[in-house]
Structure formats: structure tokens, C-alpha cells
């Protein structure tokens, strides 16, 4: 039972007493949510920090137009949930279909490294903030650099994958 199946534990009667401290059970009132005691050291200051931050944003005047903030706030969550995660899971599904089992670990690592490097370098590759008067900012050709890096990562990945497959066939 991984997290995906655990998801419906509100309907899992076994969970009512033990697993989910919020679950409804007349025999076991919500005081169960008090434990472990140290959760309150996180919950209360955490709530205070959220309220403090929200209040700060709301009283930040025209420095934080709410509409723009909300767009980035919700958009950021959706960027992961609707773009990055499905893309990654799709690639995982393909790799499970196409690759020998022994090669998958290496390929996942290679894909993760090249994907993250691409993501981090993307704003520099796009260079929207580039200033023709300032050569010291974004001094490199980031597109080309990234390309070489990703190629290097995949050369190493391919080597590791081939080795892993050979080793698995030998044993």
C-alpha cells in the first residue's frame, strides 16, 4: 500500500482509531490530534508566521497587487501539478516500457540531472534580463553551455546504463 492507496484512509475504518488523528470516531475524540506534543511547537508558530506574512502582503500597498501575486501563487502550484509532474511521470511510464529494468536507475538519474539543470538555466538561456550595456551580467552563451552539459550528462548516463545492464546479465 503506497501513498496512492493510502489516500482513501478517511474511508478506511481501521484508520479511524489509530492512523488518522483527524478521523471521525465518537469513541476517540479530537484530543488525539494533540499528540505528539511537539506538533504544537510547529503548528502555532507556523500559523502565526502565515498570518504575519499574509498581513504583510495585504498591507504592502501597490508594491504587491493581489491579482498578480495570486496569479504567481496559484500558477506556481499548477506549473508543478499540471506540467512538470505529469511530464516526469509520462517519461517514467515510457522508460518502464522501453528500457531494460537494470538501466532504469541510471536513466532516471540522468534525466533528473539534465532536467533540473535545464530548468535552472532556462531564465539565463532566455536572457530576458540581459543588458547590452553590461557585459558582466550573463557573460556566457548559456544555451550552448547547457547543451554541452546535457550531452555530457547523457554520455555518462548511457555508460552507466550499459554497465548496469551487462552486470545484471552476468549474474
Amino acid at each position: 500500500m503506497s501513498l496512492s492507496d493510502e489516500a482513501d484512509r478517511t474511508l478506511d475504518t481501521r484508520a479511524a482509531g489509530l492512523d488518522d488523528p483527524y478521523a471521525s470516531n465518537p469513541q476517540r475524540p479530537a484530543t488525539s490530534a494533540l499528540t505528539p506534543w511537539w506538533r504544537w511547537l510547529f503548528l502555532l508558530p507556523g500559523l502565526a508566521a502565515v498570518v504575519f506574512g499574509a498581513h504583510g502582503l495585504l498591507s504592502n500597498g501597490n508594491q504587491t497587487p493581489l491579482r498578480s501575486w495570486l496569479t504567481w501563487f496559484v500558477g506556481s502550484a499548477l506549473l508543478n501539478d499540471l506540467v512538470i509532474a505529469p511530464l516526469w511521470i509520462g517519461l517514467g511510464w515510457l522508460s518502464a516500457l522501453l528500457l531494460p529494468r537494470a538501466a532504469r536507475g541510471a536513466v532516471v538519474a540522468g534525466a533528473a540531472v539534465s532536467g533540473v539543470l535545464t530548468l535552472v538555466a532556462l531564465p539565463f538561456v532566455l536572457g530576458k534580463g540581459r543588458d547590452p550595456l553590461n557585459d558582466s551580467f550573463l557573460p556566457r552563451d548559456y544555451g550552448l553551455t547547457l547543451l554541452f552539459l546535457v550531452l555530457a550528462v547523457w554520455v555518462v548516463t548511457a555508460g552507466a546504463a550499459v554497465l548496469a545492464v551487462r552486470r545484471s546479465r552476468r549474474t
Binding site: 481501521r14 470516531n25 508566521a49 502582503l57 504592502n60 535552472v120 550528462v153
Partner: protein, 418 residues
């Protein structure tokens, strides 16, 4: 009361018809045993440490730039801000892969069925939206900001600061809310702690998932290795923008220490600041009981001192240089002020948020705080603040005011909250 509250929060909400349970909502739609409580807790612990460090170093940077009355920032060690801000940006960057790994681990929870089984689940899921929205937004806008690209309608600095409080608060609430799961997930496998609060049957299920993760096509080891490699790759390719020995390795860093006019990177150019035309009529005025008005030649005739100090940008890069000029404290004394007078320095530039900066007593009296005339042995380039710039130890670059024309006692007026 608690029983009533429990009844209210735990009440079953009517779910959508089961016929709608399709696609990712299906039972077993995400078969990998790496989508487990254990992996979620352990990735979360690492990410939580990164977020905490990132938040605290960001808070330091905010306090240095907008010091409340109780806050004193020292002038030494001169490298302290270089370290805190370098760490702020570096931990923010490594949090990008860590957060993606964490979100992948718990992705099945997004398709929980029913979507909200009880009011408590609905509240819990909303709080997770706040957590994910604030976390991803902070990392994404932070990254785009160091690329000096501003595709949003808010002022980055203050918005990043306040959203940072929401993000760290949401992380703390999440830790509190998931305390039982975290306690189990962080306990060593096979110990009683790893199954605390579970029935025997549930414990057996969790153990089976963790066992499967060991022998899975992509095993737990491969998963941890991949996560570690992404963190290493991001760090190696960017951290050299402030960790000078790695400058040549960090090929994706937006700055290279030592690269720029006179061997130093530039943030604000003279052309943008409108300070390219500085004529013979330039004067540096120092207000005080004996006001001074000094030409560049006058300044050059005063005792000169050379110090090696870094420029540290809030964007996370830093680069050291040799600066030569007049001690600020000497000038204050000459103007009839105490050497540790709090002063503000004003730039020739007409606008901009960083036209004026406050020099607090620890920096004002420090012998390394100069009104510099020369950089690495040459007269300052226009982009580095010709004719005169402030350089002080342990301060953010935005407070090392360039094109200085006036020094006056007192802190700068509060321009705005940011």
C-alpha cells in the same frame, strides 16, 4: 467540546460518484513504492532544513537593509554577509530539485479519492495548496529574479519577503499536521517507532512498501542517488558565482567573480543611473559642524588607504577587489562629527530605490570603510561609481552607494516599506 469538534471536522462529506474515479484517481494509479510515507518524510526533512536556512539567511538580508531599532549588524567579519547571502541563493537553488522530488513523492495525494472526504480533509488540502503555492512561487520567482527578469506586477523584494513568511509558516504547519507520519517516516526501519500508531495489518503494509522500494526497477538507492546528484549538479554549476575557487566550474552562474570592468562585475551601469557626465564641477559635500566641500583633487590629496573587500550582491554573487580611497571616519572627523556618527550617503543618480544608503555606527567608524576613488589600482570606471563610491565591510552591494556626492548625519528617511 472536542468530541463535538471532532464530529464536525470528521463528518463524512458526500463524495462524487465512483464512476468518475478515472485516470489518476484510480486505485493503484501510481504503482511505484517510492510514493511512500518514508520517502516523503525523509525528502521533506532535507527540504525543511534547506527552507529553514534559506528563510533565516533571507531574514538576515532583510534586517540588514531595513534594520529595526533593536537590530545591529556588525562591520566585521567583512565576509559574513557574503556567506549568508551566498548561502541564501545557493539553498534556494538546491531547493528547486528537492521540492520537485518531494512533490513527485506525494503526487498521488493530489488525486485522493474522494477529493475531500471530510471537512478536516478539505482544510488540510487547502493548507497544502498554501504550502505548495508559496514554496514553488518563492523558488520560481527567486530564480527568475537572479536572471534580472521581472515578468510580474509586484515589487519583488517586499513580495518575496512577505511570501517567505507564508512559506516558512506553511512548512511549520505542515510539519505539525503530519507529525505522526513524520515520526514514523524518520524512524529507522524495523524499529517500533517506524510503525507507531499503526495496527499490525497497516504496519505490515508499510513494511511491504518499503521492502518493495529496495528491489524496485528504480530502487530507493537510485532515487536517493538521483536526488543527491541533482542537488550536486545545481550547486556545482552555479555556486562559483560567489565561491570564487569554483568560478570556472560554475558554467551556469549568471556572474563570474573577477569578470567585468576593472575585474569586477557590475549590477547598475552608469548609463542607466544617468551618471556618465561627471565634470570638473563635481564636489563631495560632507554636512556637519564644519561642512566640507571637496573636489576630486581635494579628495586625492587626503591620506589614502587600500583595503581588499568584496562586493556582495543580494542576487547571490560576490567578488573581491582592492579599493583605494579616503576613510569615511576621517572625513566625518574633519567635518566636526564623531567618527561613529550614523550618516547617509547620497548618489548623483536621480532616481532609484538605492540612491541613498545609511551607514550605521559600526560601519561608519570601521577603518576599512572608504569613500573609494580607485579600484584594483585604477581610477574607478563609471560603472563602478566614478568619481567616488562607498565601500564598507559586510554590507549588501545595494548599500555600497556609487557616484557619491553627499554625506550627511542621520539615517535616510524611510522611503517606503521595502
Amino acid at each position: 467540546m472536542t468530541a463535538a469538534l471532532d464530529k464536525l471536522l470528521g463528518a463524512r462529506l458526500p463524495g462524487p460518484p465512483d464512476a468518475l474515479r478515472q485516470g489518476p484517481f484510480r486505485r493503484g494509479a501510481f504503482p511505484s513504492p517510492l510514493h511512500s510515507e518514508r520517502r516523503a518524510a525523509r525528502t521533506g526533512a532535507v527540504l525543511g532544513i534547506a527552507f529553514t536556512v534559506c528563510f533565516l539567511t533571507g531574514l538576515v538580508s532583510h534586517l540588514v537593509q531595513h534594520p529595526p531599532g533593536w537590530f545591529v549588524w556588525p562591520a566585521s567579519p567583512s565576509w559574513l554577509y557574503r556567506v549568508t547571502q551566498g548561502v541564501h541563493v545557493a539553498t534556494g537553488l538546491v531547493s528547486i530539485p528537492l521540492l520537485l522530488v518531494k512533490l513527485w513523492t506525494v503526487y498521488p495525494k493530489l488525486f485522493e479519492w474522494p477529493p475531500a472526504g471530510s471537512p478536516s480533509r478539505a482544510i488540510s488540502r487547502l493548507s497544502v495548496l498554501v504550502l505548495v503555492g508559496a514554496s514553488v512561487m518563492q523558488l520560481l520567482t527567486g530564480l527568475i529574479n537572479i536572471a534580472e527578469w521581472y515578468p510580474w506586477g509586484f515589487f519583488f523584494t517586499s513580495t518575496h519577503y512577505w511570501t517567505g513568511w507564508i512559506a516558512i509558516g506553511a512548512v511549520a504547519v505542515h510539519v505539525g499536521a503530519k507529525a505522526p507520519e513524520i515520526r514514523r517516516g524518520l524512524a529507522r526501519r524495523g524499529t517500533p517507532g517506524a510503525t507507531a500508531g499503526l495496527t499490525g495489518e497497516q504496519a505490515a503494509e508499510r513494511t511491504a512498501v518499503d521492502d518493495a522500494a529496495e528491489t524496485n526497477g528504480v530502487s530507493r538507492r537510485a532515487f536517493v542517488l538521483a536526488a543527491g546528484l541533482t542537488v550536486g549538479a545545481v550547486t556545482l554549476t552555479t555556486v562559483g558565482q560567489t565561491l570564487t575557487p569554483l568560478a570556472r566550474v560554475s558554467v551556469l552562474g549568471p556572474r563570474v567573480p573577477g569578470l567585468g570592468p576593472q575585474g569586477l562585475p557590475v549590477r547598475q551601469t552608469a548609463k542607466k543611473a544617468g551618471t556618465t557626465e561627471v565634470g570638473a564641477d563635481y564636489r563631495l559635500t560632507v554636512e556637519g559642524p564644519r561642512p566640507l566641500s571637496l573636489s576630486l583633487t581635494d579628495l586625492q590629496a587626503l591620506p589614502q588607504h587600500t583595503v581588499r573587500l568584496p562586493i556582495t550582491c543580494v542576487e547571490g554573487w560576490s567578488s573581491s577587489a582592492d579599493w583605494t580611497g579616503v576613510r569615511l571616519a576621517d572625513l566625518l572627523e574633519q567635518a566636526g562629527l564623531a567618527r561613529d556618527t550614523e550618516v547617509h550617503v547620497e548618489s548623483l543618480q536621480k532616481g532609484g530605490l538605492y540612491r541613498i544608503s545609511t551607514v550605521s555606527p559600526p560601519h561608519a567608524r570601521h577603518p576599512h570603510t572608504l569613500l573609494a576613488l580607485r579600484l584594483n589600482g585604477e581610477e574607478l570606471a563609471p560603472d563602478h561609481g566614478y568619481p567616488v563610491r562607498l565601500i564598507a565591510p559586510n554590507r549588501p552591494g545595494v548599500m555600497q552607494t556609487k557616484w557619491v556626492t553627499r554625506v550627511a548625519p542621520g539615517a535616510k528617511g524611510t522611503l517606503n516599506g521595502a
